[in-house]
């Protein structure tokens, strides 16, 4: 296995392509991490009652959407204020 996956024999073009693919995968994984975090936080806020169905109902879906959007707003607001503080 180790010798089958010998990267050193790859051409420069191949290395470059591989590098690009790895960067994309890393980005994807980063996003998935964020979504795990978001689902975690928003589940606590949105799913409070007893679970009586396996399907996501309309209000729960809307809550999930609002929760994610507001989390993003929070993110941006914090950055914006930080920027303001910095330039004081």
């Amino acid at each position: 296995m180790d010798q089958q996956l010998d990267v050193s024999k790859l051409s420069d073009a191949d290395k470059k392509e591989l590098n690009q693919i790895l960067t994309n995968e890393a980005q994807k994984s980063n996003i998935q991490q964020t979504v795990h975090h978001l689902a975690d936080v928003c589940w606590k806020k949105c799913i409070t009652g007893k679970i009586s169905s396996g399907r996501l109902d309309q209000s729960e879906e809307a809550c999930a959407q609002n929760c994610v959007e507001r989390w993003m707003d929070t993110n941006l607001a914090v950055l914006k204020h930080l920027e303001a503080l910095r330039s004081q």
Binding site: V7, L10, S11, I31, T34, V35, D40, G54, L56, C67
Partner: protein, 112 residues
């Protein structure tokens, strides 16, 4: 060692084969890590929601609740993912970024 199946008669793998093998292995590991992460969260939240007072054995009601909770959590995760991805795309467009963020959404139901 059957990574390349019967196509390899002990010859050194071509560059193309090495490349695809690396990518494939990486993607499998990433999918595994993602699934493990998801299962951990499902466990945490559904235990919280379905087993408020642990009894001496699991009840059918609790089991039903756990199945429903799990399905709901996955749908919830996908909803969060869709919203997040489209928001990030919107923001990066607003900032004039030409970054292509199209391929970053991988809803769990396709990777599980």
């Amino acid at each position: 060692m059957a990574l390349f199946g019967s196509s390899s008669n002990n010859a050194a793998p071509s560059q193309q084969e090495v490349k695809t093998a690396i990518v494939k292995q990486l993607q499998q590991e990433a999918a595994m890590a993602n699934a493990r992460n998801l299962i951990g969260k499902v466990n945490e939240h559904c235990f919280e929601a379905c087993i408020p007072t642990p009894g001496s054995s699991i009840t059918t009601q609790e089991e039903t609740c756990l199945s429903q909770c799990m399905e709901k959590y996955i749908s919830f995760w996908n909803a969060a993912s869709r919203t997040y991805v489209s928001r990030v795309a919107r923001e990066s467009k607003r900032l004039g970024g030409a970054e292509s963020l199209a391929m970053m959404a991988t809803p769990t139901d396709t990777s599980l």
